[in-house]
């Protein structure tokens, strides 16, 4: 199954460019022309006009490799994104554990050496070092980790003028191009540049914890993208828009033990900013507010438990006057779902009951004979 995951584009990275890409140059010149004045400024205007026409002339003068063939000269399209990512991503060297090599990727988020990466065993060793894009190697200190979102904050003692300026508002809408910059499969050996992939933002959403504890690799907001980032080694890499703005950081692998399928996603920039500024708490605020403490709820259903907690949720008794009684639930009915959650076993029902809030109505679906029935009922406080 691992072999099926592969990126769509992997191109060797150009070295840092001495001049800014053409597109940026043209934009600046246009802005400079705007405050047009009288004769005294004629010289400036003429100069500006020449600058504007220069790209026209230089574009013709610079044959791109594809012009002759009649194809588009579009080699330079993702320059800004790639340059930004290349200068602001670092390699982290930690402890090897068994045959798992102890190195990963992280991103620079401040001018004084703050780095975010994904939490991992390799960071727990005595010595962690960070390799900057300029080749320097620095010792790093682990500042803190976030267990729920599997993030780690490191600091090196160095000036890092190239860093991702984390925005408080989410960056990247559905459909926007994203360029991912990562060391998938750890294919970049030593000094080699990382792999660049292309995709779009698929969906901005929030992932809940799954029932199976083995599945929890991340819980919180995430940006789903359609570039393949779910390869081992990719976590800690950068996901940027075409203008170089950070959309997020590739998170740890989220793989469902049920289906062996993986998610391609990034931890969003605003969540990363909260992490750096130490605003994240263990209570993940969600639309459903599962974690808020509330009084235990009761529906009045006693299930037939002789076959154990893993048996289907057949109703044994219904308490008189209870919400289930008023909804006309009877013994031998089979509870199928509560509040939209599929109930397969008695244990499922008990778990879901804990989440119900007295006074907040829920939809219950049950099976009676061959018929499926949907009812709404309002749980009361458990006495």
């Amino acid at each position: 199954m691992n072999d099926q995951q592969h990126g769509s584009l992997s191109q060797p990275l150009r070295r840092s460019r001495p001049s800014r890409p053409e597109s940026a140059r043209t934009r600046t010149q246009f802005a400079a022309i705007l405050p047009a004045l009288g004769w005294v400024q004629f010289g400036r205007l003429a100069f500006a006009l020449c600058l504007v026409c220069a790209p026209l002339m230089s574009a013709n003068a610079q044959p791109t490799a594809l012009d002759e063939g009649g194809a588009i000269g579009s080699n330079r399209v993702f320059d800004d994104a790639i340059e930004a990512a290349q200068l602001r991503t670092v390699k982290i060297y930690g402890a090897s554990v068994g045959r798992v090599e102890g190195y990963g990727t992280g991103i620079l988020v401040s001018n004084d050496g703050m780095i975010i990466s994904t939490a991992g065993v390799y960071l727990s060793g005595r010595r962690v070092r960070v390799g900057l894009p300029n080749g320097e190697l620095h010792d790093a200190k682990l500042i803190r980790t976030d267990r729920l979102r599997q993030l780690a904050l490191l600091k090196i003692d160095a000036e890092t003028p190239e860093f991702f300026n984390l925005q408080p508002e989410p960056v990247g809408d559905v459909g926007d191009w994203v360029v991912t910059f990562s060391n998938a499969f750890k294919v970049a050996d030593g000094e080699e540049p990382m792999s660049v992939n292309l995709g779009i933002v698929s969906l901005r959403t929030f992932i809940e914890a799954r029932r199976n504890d083995r599945d929890i690799a991340y819980r919180g907001k995430l940006v789903l993208i359609d570039a393949i980032t779910s390869n081992p080694g990719a976590s800690g890499g950068a996901v940027v828009k075409t203008d170089g703005e950070l959309v997020g950081m590739i998170g740890k692998l989220i793989e469902s033990s049920d289906t062996n399928t993986r998610l391609n996603y990034a931890v969003p920039n605003d969540l990363l900013l909260d992490f750096v500024e130490n605003r994240l708490t263990d209570d993940v605020a969600t639309a459903g507010a599962d974690d808020e403490p509330h009084k235990p709820a009761e529906l009045g259903i006693r299930l037939f438990g002789l076959n154990g907690p893993r048996s289907p949720a057949y109703v044994d008794r219904v308490a008189r006057g209870s919400p289930a009684f008023q909804a006309r639930i009877r013994p031998d009915d089979l509870i199928i779902s509560v509040g939209g959650q599929r109930i397969n076993t008695i244990k499922d029902y008990q778990e879901e009951l804990k989440r119900l809030i007295p006074g907040e109505s829920v939809v219950v679906v049950y099976k009676r004979g061959e018929e499926l029935v949907r009812v709404e009922m309002t749980p009361v406080e458990k006495k």
């Binding site: 199954m1 099926q4 995951q5 592969h6 769509s8 053409e22 010149q29 246009f30 022309i33 047009a36 009288g38 205007l45 500006a48 006009l49 504007v52 026409c53 026209l56 791109t64 594809l66 012009d67 588009i72 000269g73 579009s74 399209v77 809408d173 559905v174 459909g175 926007d176 191009w177 995709g199 779009i200 698929s202 969906l203 959403t205 929030f206 992932i207 809940e208 789903l224 359609d226 779910s230 075409t242 989220i254 469902s256 049920d258 289906t259 399928t261 993986r262 998610l263 391609n264 639309a287 459903g288 199928i336 509560v338 939209g340 959650q341 599929r342 939809v363 679906v365 099976k367 499926l372």
Partner: protein, 364 residues
């Protein structure tokens, strides 16, 4: 004088930019060179391409908005667990939410058989207006992994435009859209059409991500019209779950809706279209001799009932010479239950003919 200078400057700047973007009145953007004329047109300048590439996400968003009203969330067990802004992780095959597409104003919804892997007792759908209602399965096409549902109250929900089959071009934009993650907002993946007439000539192939997140959902073009329905498919097997292992791999399949009218009418009539089953185990004939040798015959299957026996050599199918095993398999895979084929076979020295009506596979 000042005005003259400013106009000169502005004109000069525009020449310098040379961004050419055509916008139709709906706001969609056509910044990509028209493919049909690409051989006669001069290549666009880098600036134009940059501009085009910057505007394409907007086109993706507009296309997604156009199809959104026709999307349907299918929850197989009654009670939708779809919540806006939340996903529940990746669920087991056949559980969790699936995607469907409303294709007619009288309430027919098309989706993939993948959604019903577990034979659910009831099917609940939520249409794009948030309304939930029970749906019933009307017909299944197990050769295309499609399933047709019907709801009683489609309200005034929009029905999407379908791309005619002959207009689908290799290399054109294709976006897969689905609600299978559990969020009521759809997830979008972008790619191109990689190939046509794949898997027994039934599907188009795309490199947009196709997965349980969008099986049953539409593959759309840049204008928001439906190219086809995303399904798991494999050239090796017709099992309902075959091909899922290729999720998000750069190889995804969709069944084009253009030209599928006849099949949809059959499904509406309640027909279940199943792969044709002959019931023989074959092996390649030796020494370069033509034909395929029957190794064994499945009891009570069509071949057995027609009198075929082990050691018989199949020489022709419907008059066509059998060159090798794969050719024979490919031909039979295109057929459905109820199709009739004529086999010409050799028994000893004697050539015989048998007309056989294919049954459905005993596995289901």
């Amino acid at each position: 004088m000042r005005t003259v200078i400013i106009s000169l400057v502005v004109v000069g700047a525009m020449l310098g930019q040379r961004a050419i973007v055509a916008q139709d009145d709906t706001g969609a953007t056509e910044a990509v060179v028209d493919k049909q004329d690409s051989s006669t047109q001069a290549p666009p300048k880098t600036d134009e391409v940059l501009q085009g590439l910057r505007l394409t996400p907007r086109a993706f968003r507009i296309a997604t908005e156009r199809i959104r009203g026709s999307l349907v969330t299918i929850e197989s067990y009654g009670g939708s667990s779809t919540i806006e802004g939340r996903i529940g992780g990746i669920r087991r095959q056949g559980e969790g939410n699936s995607t469907g597409l409303l294709i007619s104003s009288d309430g027919y919804i098309i989706t993939s058989t993948f959604a019903f892997l577990r034979q659910p007792p009831a099917i609940m759908v939520m249409t794009s207006d948030g309304k939930k209602q029970f749906a019933k399965i009307v017909g299944r096409d197990d050769t295309r992994k499609l399933c047709l549902l019907k709801i009683d109250d489609p309200s005034d929900l929009p029905v999407p435009e379908i791309v005619p089959a002959d207009e689908i071009e290799i290399g054109q934009w294709a976006m897969s859209v689905g609600v299978g993650y559990g969020d009521s907002n759809p997830a979008v993946s972008m790619g191109i059409i990689s190939a046509k007439n794949r898997v027994g000539e039934k599907a188009v192939q795309t490199d947009a991500n196709v997965s349980p997140a969008n099986y049953g959902g539409p593959l759309i073009d840049i204008e928001g019209r439906v190219i086809g329905i995303c399904v798991p498919l494999s050239p090796r097997s017709q099992d309902v779950g075959a091909g899922v292992e290729w999720y998000d791999s750069g190889i995804g399949f969709a069944i084009p809706l253009g030209g599928l009218e006849r099949i949809i009418e059959k499904l509406k009539a309640g027909e279940n279209i199943r792969p044709g089953f002959l019931g023989v185990q074959l092996k390649q004939n030796e020494d370069g001799k033509p034909g395929a040798i029957i190794e064994s015959v499945v009891e009570d299957a069509p071949a057995a009932k027609a009198g075929l026996q082990p050691e018989d050599v199949i020489l022709k199918v419907d008059g066509e010479d059998v060159v090798d095993l794969n050719q024979l398999r490919r031909k039979i895979r295109k057929l459905i239950e109820g199709d009739e084929i004529t086999l010409t076979y050799l028994r000893g020295e004697e050539e015989n003919e048998a007309k056989i009506v294919l049954a459905s596979s005993p596995a289901g």
